[in-house]
Symmetry: C2
Subunit: 451 residues, 2 copies
């Protein structure tokens, strides 16, 4: 059976794989700062070309390059698409790193560096799984397509036109999303959906310049107007007050609730880590998990007005701003919510506030009942020897909806990460053991998908 | 009559007076930055000593030196006290100055520089008025005391212990406060009182660190708590909601209203300058003036939480803060309001918010009926040849209450400034003509006070 040979190839070449990952980690690619983007895209393309992939840079009117690569199978008409991203979060705060964030240092059986886990480890793991087939069998069991973008960490603002433009090229039967891993007990985690997110900024303006606060009895204060406007969006019980905000929100289905019951929710650990005694509204256990995954939110990300230095200053500011994000659940849409927000503020007398839309992704999920979900779960259980944990929805966001809506395929997210990987944080790393096991998982998945 | 000789002396020495003011302006003394304070105090002391004053540096346990100087009269037991400050506001924004802010440049009949008007011009004008008597008569008509502090621009936080400690030394029959001048029509303005101010900072805390906003359904957001806490302090109609906040507030007396009617309130000009169409609650004319001077306020001076840079960041902040000031009217006290604020926040479920008190001064006023007010007004009208404009209260604040409460004397504020003096702003200046006329005004006041 060829999978045995594929596993042997992976074990025999794991050091070489690690070196390729180290090379990729050493190439900074911080989309937030536009740092090293072109260089990293080139490196990813080179890695694929070396394996015999046909590659292509997909470009919309603007945005960082998307690296596309494909390898067609000689015997299968089925196609599996992989979504990944080569861009990374900024490495700051630098002083908290044990090793230089772009050094790719190997220590304690781990590869350290920004992007090691999120998402370069998954890129290399997936490419190497395909390489293992090519090197041992001279073919791939199914057609393989890689879509590796460079703006995931800044909200994929330019992706939709690219997906639309290259819809045909990207056609596939199913897709594997970018992230995932195992938990402390070694169980593989699968994610079937993502929340949407709508990011906005509210700006209130007063006089044309800051004035002395002695004038407060007569001169409008935009900081107060902002506070009152925000206050009309959500009450102290966390209920969002925008008219018809919850209109399209559904509770989890009974099938989804069964799924939730199997999710190991580390409530105590989370509270301890964050130094909080209770979750909002005292939610706990299954209720907390349902809230986390199935409730939309309205979050203040930032506030700024007037004097914010030491001590006091008797100033009446001329501007005030708040940054907000709304996490959206399936059947809500960012456009709908933006309209409702605008209307609500107007109706409550805050029509003068400027509302700036910073970005949006839509909620989406693949049904638990989709055969592809079953296939991925069974493969994961086979490879890891433990029950798979299925998240019917994740609290996070990403451009998954573009693949669901335009390509109309099931999408499941799995990956080779582990619980102490520190994605988005200092000392990000990837365990070499997880990396190698994850590579075998992807190889097995490709093989099972071909059946 | 000796006053004629005094006037002649002032006219004959005005160039020398201007040079002394230029010297003082050239010495930076920015209390907010601790810049040049000791040097400026020394220079002020030197100016007084040169005139034959007994001088003394008054010090509390902390704070910038207060320069005290006195010249006793050989023929009068009456004492007139002058309150001034040698510290100045920071000169920023520097790029908006026509001349270097500490150059003391003379141009267009004006002395330009930070402090030229506020408050060094008044210091020199007053000292020179006294000098004119000494040089022409060899005596002063009444005992003269100067109290020149160095922390007025930062709220005089260390003054109370000094006043208490040197209460006897400072004993006087009346005091002239630091500021004032003439308006566009040449009418002298008198101020009989000041509002108090209580500056506080509210701090809300959540988790021990910022978290990803995907966690918003469960993790408390201090930015929201701050918004809700602020919202419970004041409503959209500008009504302060703190229980019993208005308990001790009185409307202006009929005598005060008569005074207000004579105040030239530049409503149209103010609106145009600030780019606003209407004052809060549509107030206008006498109503606006009553509101400005007799209503206490609760003002947001600053807001800060989470991400405030460009674009968006999906962060749930762990801290949020607001800076507030309360302007207080006579019979309110900062301690009372601080207690009521604390109680109110607790009662509304915000007892976990930290409330930091940054500073406070108390409201105070000298009654219009005080004979000293009449004397100052009559003298002003005599010198300026126009009706005096009397403000029974000013919208601003300062440590006047310490002089009123501990020395128990009438205090009236007058000065040698003019409408385009730009105090606290770029291109601060003092018209030489106003400076010289103001010096004669003070000399006449000393003479009249002696009668």
């Amino acid at each position: 059976m060829s999978l045995q040979k594929v596993y042997e190839y992976i074990d025999g070449h794991s050091e070489e794989f690690v070196q390729d990952l180290v090379r990729l980690v050493k190439q900074p690619s911080v989309s937030a700062k536009g740092e090293g983007i072109e260089e990293c895209a080139k490196l990813v393309e080179e890695l694929m070309a070396k394996m015999g992939f046909s590659t292509k840079i997909l470009k919309g009117r603007k945005g960082n390059p998307v690296v596309y690569g494909e390898k067609l199978s000689q015997k299968s008409s089925k196609t599996l698409l992989f979504y990944n991203h080569y861009d990374v979060q900024p490495p700051e705060p630098l002083e908290e790193w044990k090793y230089e964030p772009f050094s790719g240092t190997i220590a304690d059986g781990k590869i350290y560096g920004r992007g090691a886990s999120d998402n370069k480890g998954n890129i290399v793991s997936r490419l190497k799984a395909v390489q293992a087939f090519l090197e041992t069998t001279g073919d791939v069991p199914v057609n393989i397509k890689f879509f590796i973008e460079g703006e995931e960490e800044i909200g994929s603002p330019n992706l939709e036109p690219v997906i639309k433009k290259f819809k045909k090229l990207l056609s596939a039967d199913a897709a594997i999303w970018e992230f995932g891993g195992t938990d402390r007990r070694g169980r593989p985690h699968l994610y079937l959906g993502l929340k949407g997110v709508l990011s906005v900024e509210l700006k209130a303006k007063g006089a044309v310049k800051d004035v002395h606060s002695a004038n407060a009895p007569l001169i409008p204060n935009p900081a107060w107007r902002l506070v009152w406007a925000l206050n009309c969006l959500k009450d102290g019980e966390e209920k969002i007050l925008i008219e018809k905000f919850y209109e399209h929100v559904s509770p989890p289905s009974s099938e989804e609730i069964e799924c939730l019951k199997t999710i190991p929710f580390e409530e105590k650990e989370t509270k301890k880590e964050l130094g909080i005694k209770r979750f909002l509204r005292g939610k706990s256990g299954l209720e907390a998990l349902k809230t986390l995954l199935y409730e939309p939110t309205c979050t203040i990300n930032g506030l700024l007005s007037g004097y914010t230095g030491k001590g006091s200053k008797t100033v009446l500011p001329c501007e005030a701003m708040a940054k907000l994000d709304f996490r959206l659940v399936p059947n809500q849409s960012s456009e709908e919510i933006f309209k409702k927000l605008t209307k609500h503020l107007k109706r409550h007398g805050f029509g003068d506030l400027e509302i700036i839309k910073h970005g949006a992704t839509e909620p989406t999920k693949t049904p638990i009942s989709d055969p592809f979900v079953k296939l991925v779960a069974e493969t994961a259980e086979k490879v890891y020897g433990k029950n798979a944990v299925i998240y019917p929805l994740s609290a996070g966001s990403g451009p998954m909806h573009l693949f669901r809506n335009f390509l109309r395929i099931p999408v499941v997210s799995v990956g080779c990460s582990h619980p102490e990987a520190n994605a988005h944080a200092p000392n990000e790393n990837l365990k070499i053991e997880s990396f190698v096991r994850g590579t075998k998982f992807i190889a097995t998945l490709i093989s099972d998908f071909a059946q």
